[in-house]
Symmetry: C2
Subunit: 204 residues, 2 copies
DNA sequence: AAGTATGTATGACGCCGGTCATAGTAGCTC
DNA sequence: GAGCTACTATGACCGGCGTCATACATACTT
């Protein structure tokens, strides 16, 4: 997650995502993105002729892909292959970040939605695509964990919704309480959706 | 919800909440708020000497009180007194708004959190207070509906989180799908938390 | 060596934001 | 009717924003 390896273009997209995550779209300036990415300011108009809107959209898309990949990795590394474990891992990523950095930034996709859904159609669509690219792997993971196909996608939507909402409440409260609460409360409910007779993980 | 009755001060707070809800804090201008409230621009510095931050904080507080009162009214008017009914009513308010107005604004508390949590401590606290003032009535309602005291507050947190997240996803997708999905999936899980033997509503 | 993409570097422009300063206008008391 | 308070009304200021225009440096082609 250093983001300083690749080319300047990627770094700028990455930096944009980070800054949007923390301050929202409106309060994130183009110059600021370039500075944060240690990229030349002139490269902005070179790589993103579509201006800020394009940059924001790419940052959102990047975040969506990142979240999707992350889910796949979580699923592969679950100690106890149950839906609750996946959800705990998703929430745990945010808890861990808070406890590491001491402060909690939000989700760039949510920020872009809040700030742009009503004003920039392309950004709204980028956010929708990002959510779809996140929900997909979650849905697959759930089916792989034994959730009936018909319920996998709705439950994936519920998981992502709860997580997004908990992130916001956690930021407001200045603590990870809501994230832990949501993980604790929703987990068992998700496990209950596993088809009976499915070969669970370690315990039961 | 007309908001044009009371004095100019209240109207401005209300207008601020509405505009923030739609465009986010950053994209909402002070002049715009005054114009929307049909209030004189000079009144801004008169009523809100603390500037934009104060106005935003009051808008957030207003939204929190509104949400809390709303929950109390939902609870009183439930056809089937079950947790799922309350949650459906909460989500239904948003669905209805979308189907009435044709577009979906967000929650002002969420918007303020996303845009200000990292930059304005007072706004972050206002948002936390607003969430608390929303969660309180939900918690009470759940206990009144038969949810054991120990689980009422965590489940209230889960409900609000899911709703907030679903609102964001719905805005991104440009449709109420996520709201309906979340209501459908979470409702039964909430009902299952009702203490056994509790005198439920109509059916079971 | 000339030429041409590709990327970098700045400076300027216009705009709109929040805020300040300063008047002006009721409505009320004494 | 003088004086005070509450509110309204503007205009100006300064700063930051996104964007544009333009010039410069590479690096690869032919």
């Amino acid at each position: 997650m250093t983001g300083s390896g690749k080319g300047p273009r990627e770094r700028m997209v990455f930096s944009a995502a980070q800054l949007i995550r923390r301050d929202g779209v409106g309060a994130t300036g183009m110059r600021e993105v370039a500075a944060h990415a240690r990229a030349p300011r002139g490269s902005l108009q070179h790589y993103f002729p579509g201006g800020k809107e394009q940059l924001v959209n790419e940052a959102v898309a990047w975040a969506g892909r990142y979240a999707g990949r992350r889910v796949a990795r979580f699923t592969a590394g679950l100690a106890e292959p149950r839906p609750s474990g996946l959800f705990a891992a998703m929430a745990g990523q945010w808890i861990e970040e808070y406890e590491t950095t001491g402060s909690l930034a939000g989700c760039p996709v949510a920020a872009a939605t809040v700030d742009c859904a009503a004003s920039a159609a392309s950004t709204r669509e980028a956010a929708a695509a990002a959510f779809a690219g996140w929900r997909g792997p979650v849905t697959e993971a759930l089916t792989g964990l034994g959730v009936p196909a018909a319920r996998a996608e709705p439950l994936a939507t519920l998981m992502i919704s709860s997580l997004e909402g908990a992130i916001i409440m956690a930021r407001a409260e200045g603590g990870v309480g809501p994230l832990k609460t949501v993980a604790r409360e929703l987990g068992p409910l998700l496990d209950a959706a596993v088809a009976p007779g499915h070969a669970g993980g370690a315990g039961a």
